[in-house]
Amino acid sequence: MPASFNLTRLPKLSGAGGICLQLSGQLALPDATEFWQKLKEEIEPGRGHEIDLSAVERLDGVCAAMLVSVEAEARCSGQYLHFHGASPGVERLLALYGIDGNPCKAPPTHLRILEQVGEATCSLVANTRNTLSFIGELSLSAIRAIRTPKSVHWADLGKLLERAGADSVPIVIAINLLVGFILGLQSAMQMEQFGVGIYVADLVGMSVVRELGPLMTAIIVTGRSGAAYAAQIGTMVVSEEVSALRSMGFDPVRFLVIPRTIALALMVPLLVVIGNFVGLLGGLLVGVLYLDVSISAYILRTQSVIGLSDWCSGLLKAAVFGIAIALIACERGFSTRGGAEGVGTSTTSAVVTMLFTLVCLDAFFTIIFSALGI
């Protein structure tokens, strides 16, 4: 379909040796792409232009914006681009879109690498400070909560325990069983070569009870409950529910964080107990099905290797993991700003921080326990 406008170059030159163009016809959105291309082709950088608009029958906002843009570009590069002959309607529209008043664009600013590193470092320091300050605030809130138990939303605790605990049991069983099975199979393949297949029970038992059981369970809780807490509290912040709590005289930290922290501090160790047993079961399956070890021999070997201190160290880790997950999730939730985007950002940040913290805490506990000979 032919364009309903014409942009022609007139043979005459303007006073200062500039180019004269004439626009005619209908300048509207359906032909805007072609109009923009022609306009860019006809306007020569470094030369002045005069554009005759007397034959323009119709100009819409899209094309007016384009004319205003080329005028500003010419003006800002020290050239002139004048329109003349416009009908009152066209003139009014150009004025409405800011002809002559359209400011020059500032060149885009890009942060240099060093600045980006500096900004990231500052942000890391600020995040750490916020987390520490949040832990301080929570400690004070916990003391106050003991004095005034009514200020805590205890009604939530039952639901939180159920969601963090009972609802997580199937996935905790599935993941830990597979981890125990994979660990057992990999070690069985190696140990069988040396005729010490029964030591699979030692390896699986110690690894699951001391390390993998607590860590894998905490990772599952991070994905289920931790992410949910960050998103819930973040949504409450952006929808002003947290402000409403404050306005009613509640301390949001006491009201929201303490029940969640208690829920995870109680539920993660319980889940770890379940996870440890099914992890050991995974190893037992490998022992029985792959290594032809009897069930009783495998269980006796496992019992002889795993002591009470191994169980206790795993459960202590689990409780600390639970508290860490709750604190980080709630802190990131409270620091949410903006709308839906902010909730997404704080939830992602919470999950990444929780995972990183879990691994750091696990390493810390391993070093301490080995130093103490536990």
């Binding site: 959105l29 792409t33 906002g61 384009m66």
Partner: protein, 249 residues
């Protein structure tokens, strides 16, 4: 079907509602081109539902809606022939204002990126948001969000603009500035305005014609310029509404 020759919206025998609940039935009215048309009514009378039917978000239970002579196209099938400004602005929080305004142009035109940027900047200038193009919606005030919502609604050069409670929640200065902007769009660009609002001052300033919906009779109980409606003593709801009187007065 008979309608005024220069009607941009024609509604005939429309029945709207939610589930089993009928809110309005046998609604018929026209909106003339370049009119500033306001839909009024008590809370729950069906104003917002009517607006959702007009813009094609909800299918009418029965009846006809014609916009520019044809039914509103199903969303996502064709470029919209009208712009819509939602009550909160409904800007996307993950995008800057410039990206928000560019969105319909990217979707429905094959304009190059630099042209789209220039058009979006011009729209933002039109609504006095110059300099805020790289801000995200969470960084601007409620009034600015509404203006940005209008800039986005205007992106595809519509001749018809629907506005849901444009002045709600705004301070008097922002509210009057928004009214001025709407008048400019109507008078200078010839944009037809269809608004749902409760703000009497905005109605007086902007509207050329109002219809009043009544939840009890499920129909239109008054139709005319706001000055005429203000002086009416019947129906009683219209008198109470325009004179800010309690129902018991």
């Amino acid at each position: 079907m008979t309608s005024e020759p220069d009607s941009i919206i024609v509604v005939r025998d429309l029945c709207i509602g939610w589930g089993d609940r009928i809110l309005m039935e046998h609604l018929s009215f026209d909106v003339a081109r370049a009119e500033r048309f306001v839909i009024l009514g008590g809370s729950g009378s069906g104003k917002s539902t009517l607006l959702q039917n007009l813009i094609g978000l909800v299918e009418p239970r029965s009846g006809t809606i014609l916009i520019d002579g044809s039914p509103p196209p199903a969303p996502e099938t064709a470029p919209p022939r009208f712009g819509v400004m939602f009550q909160s602005g409904a800007l996307f929080g993950s995008m800057t204002l410039l990206e928000n305004v560019s969105l319909p142009l990217n979707r429905w035109t094959d304009l190059p990126a630099d042209a789209i940027e220039e058009i979006a900047l011009a729209r933002l200038r039109l609504v006095a948001l110059e300099g805020f193009e790289n801000h995200s919606p969470s960084e601007i005030s409620g009034g600015m969000k509404k203006r940005a919502g209008i800039a986005r609604a205007l992106a595809l050069e519509p001749s018809l603009l629907f506005l849901d409670e444009p002045s709600a929640g705004l301070d008097p200065i922002s509210s009057v500035e928004l009214d001025e902007l709407l008048l400019t769009l109507n008078e200078e660009l010839g944009v037809t305005l269809v608004m749902v609002t409760h703000e009497l001052e905005s109605i007086d300033k902007v509207a050329t014609r109002c219809i009043v919906l009544d939840g009890e009779t499920r129909g239109i109980i008054a139709d005319g310029p706001p000055r005429e409606l203000r002086s009416q003593t019947e129906p009683i709801f219209v008198k109470h509404f325009f004179n800010r009187e309690p129902r018991s007065a």
